[in-house]
Amino acid sequence: MAIMMPASDPAVLDRREAIVAALRAIVPGEGVIDSAAEMLPYESDALTAYRQPPMVVVLPDTTEQVSKVLKYCFEQGIKVVPRGSGTSLSGGALPLADGVLLGLGKFKRIREIDFDNRVVVTEPGVTNLAISQAVAHAGFYYAPDPSSQIACSIGGNVAENSGGVHCLKYGMTTNNVLGCEIVLMTGEILRIGGKAAENSGYDLMGIITGSEGLLGVITEVTVRILQKPETARALMVGFAEVEAAGECVARIIGAGIIPGGMEMMDKPAIHAAEAFVHAGYPLDVEALLIIELDGPGIEVDELISRVEAIAQGCGSTMCQISNSEGERNLFWAGRKAAFPAVGRISPDYLCMDGTIPRGALPKALARIRDLSKKYNLAVANVFHAGDGNLHPLILYDANKPGEMERAEAFGADILRVCVEFGGVLTGEHGVGIEKRDLMGEMFSEIDLNQQQRLKCAFDPQGLLNPGKVFPTLHRCAELGRVHVHGGKLAFPDLPRF
């Protein structure tokens, strides 16, 4: 594997039997898995190019068990990798050979539905979609909708700060969670936030969200729920040039319209999707926008006509408007199936996740095409155009020697382009191991040290999910040192009053 993980501790591996026995004393029965065959499903997440069997898998089903497992591991100096449903696209749940894989899959209960306060209190193993389903009868839903929502767990969503096609209007996970119960590496159980709009003190919920399982293990989450919009309609708009599609996106936003979703696909992605789901996509356009407006019918109808006029003004070559739920779903079917559609035309693909300022879309796409030639690998592009989040899909064949390495180098170059244009390495998939070694493209050592100091406040021994997010690990004591310059600082020219 191209990514170096922290070296295994032979002293821990030597004690494996004793460790398994101690864990069995905490989590009885089938909650501890140590046979190679049974651990197989846990050896990777959705970044399947990387695999590593853990030392042992533990599946607790109470907060107390989680606490005891962590306390034991803390005292014994054993690394722990938390895992939800294992749908991470960045390797956030990749096990360590000398680590305990702590699965939260048994935390499957919704604890409370509170319509008056518009929140759901849930265990972390509940899937994203199950929350929406549990409140659908009262017209509510949970807004963030990552495309893995059937399978991904809410605990994993919090860890990764998951997005989805609707986050332009409704925000990401961080904008939709209010509180949690979290267990620190020491075993300490804390409650942060609750049903109120804001926590007291520092916004620890905000820092835990998106921390990729490095700060603590979440055992309960309180999420906001919203009333479902009365109606939703979509437009499918084709353009002969990517620039025109980019301009259309900018003008819609500039007109003060925030669509529920605004997606773009380039020609290779359109062709792959159309061949797969027959959504009726035009095959003669260079870029296709799918724009969804939601709200009261009267509003949606008005906005549809405004968006249609903007699209025409930008030189759209085709525009279709959904007149039924069936039609709207068909427009989306191709976009939603874009990844598997690409999977059909290529043995393997790598999905990137950079974000750029919206205005840089055409430039970025041109650069990606140049890189595609340079690396001699095809690429299909799908974008969350509304928020500039790119998902270039790099096509390769892992069975051809060197091709995966070439695809990874191509991907890294795409992310460098994103940063060069003022964007970031990852919009919603997380850093994990996948983008870990690129963190230096975006952050200085000082920036990263500050982030790692924060990690030290939660996990001073660095036992929780080490090897993820940060390219270089430092000891907490070393990071905490303040360099005092003996009070002799040259500071003569600062105005004083």
Partner: protein, 413 residues
Amino acid sequence: MDTLKVRDAKDVEQAVREAVASEQPLEIIGHGSKRLIGQPMATNAVLDLSALSAVTSYEPNELIVTVQAGAPLADVQSLIDSKNQQFAFEPVNTAALLGTPELGTIGGMIGAGLAGPRRIKAGGARDHLLGAHAVSGFGDSFKAGGKVVKNVTGYDLCKLLAGSWGTLAVMTEVTLKVMPRPESERTLVLRGLDAIVANQAMTAALGSPFDVSGAAHLPNSALRSSEAGGLGELGAGREALTLLRLEGITVSAAHRAAALAEALAPFGSAQILEDAASAHAWSSIRDVIPFAASGALGGAPVWRIVCPPAAGGALGEQLARDTGGDMIYDWGGGLIWAALPPTPDAQAGFVRRRVEAAFGHATLIRAPEQVRRNVDVFQTQPRGLADLSERVRLSFDPKTILNRGRLTRGPAA
């Protein structure tokens, strides 16, 4: 007192390093508009950021603005207003409440993190801070977040900076999300409800599909001052007012206002305010004008209480009854501004017991310095959480140089 007027991030680094070396804590200010909030500090040097006032870039089509931390909030607001955009979280202007000049910087807006009525729909300051450059208590400039809305690269340090009252790092430049200003707004006004029933009406409205962007209740007692709480004609009847706001394109706001009025018919018939009248009412609520320092309740200590929204009505009624104080309810009941009869401790013990029982927390947002010396201005947290918060703070500012003692009483911080 020494005032260091910094010109750029390098100056800030130098000032902090010097402060670390000489072990002299710094008070961080922009315009100083919120200096009356928090525990009185024992700092003897001021780091003045007001000269860092430039707008670095404003890109309306990207929905972002990047400004230096000392930029005047009013200037930035009029800049984005010129493109029909706004800070959707409606930052609270504390000038009238505190009786201070009409000032304030972007850095103060984020550091205090006080959000107005639209928080229930659009989130708070923390949801709009996309990126920051800041100087930690190590004297090092660091970057947090980025300049795009969608970003999960590394820890989301921006969340910590928002609402940290300058105790973690000195922000020098921030990137904020801006949103389109709604084309129209309508406000439903229900009259004569008590706080409990008003809370029920607001809960019903917020649980409806009509996308309510403001839900507030003003008991008649809050409208007793001569200016009727800054609400003009609306407050002249001295009747309790329950206000529900709908925003969006004109046809939609009007349609939803009518539909909501129908849905809320059991609570009484609603008057509907349009655009300017609606906006005026909400700015009064946002800035807590009924409790203005110059008004009838100007001498009362004011608590800002955040609690689960459906519990707000009962909590507020109880506080009003037992203290003789006045309440204003916002966020559908999830935010209570409580003006209490003055006592040496602003009735802190009593308020906190009641608020904690309702799973909320309370900040003493306005009180004389002597009172703030005697009480915990900010909610104290349970032991484990307080310890973690302190470790987090020390990870940014190990020598407690920045705004020492602003958040907590006691020797350490």
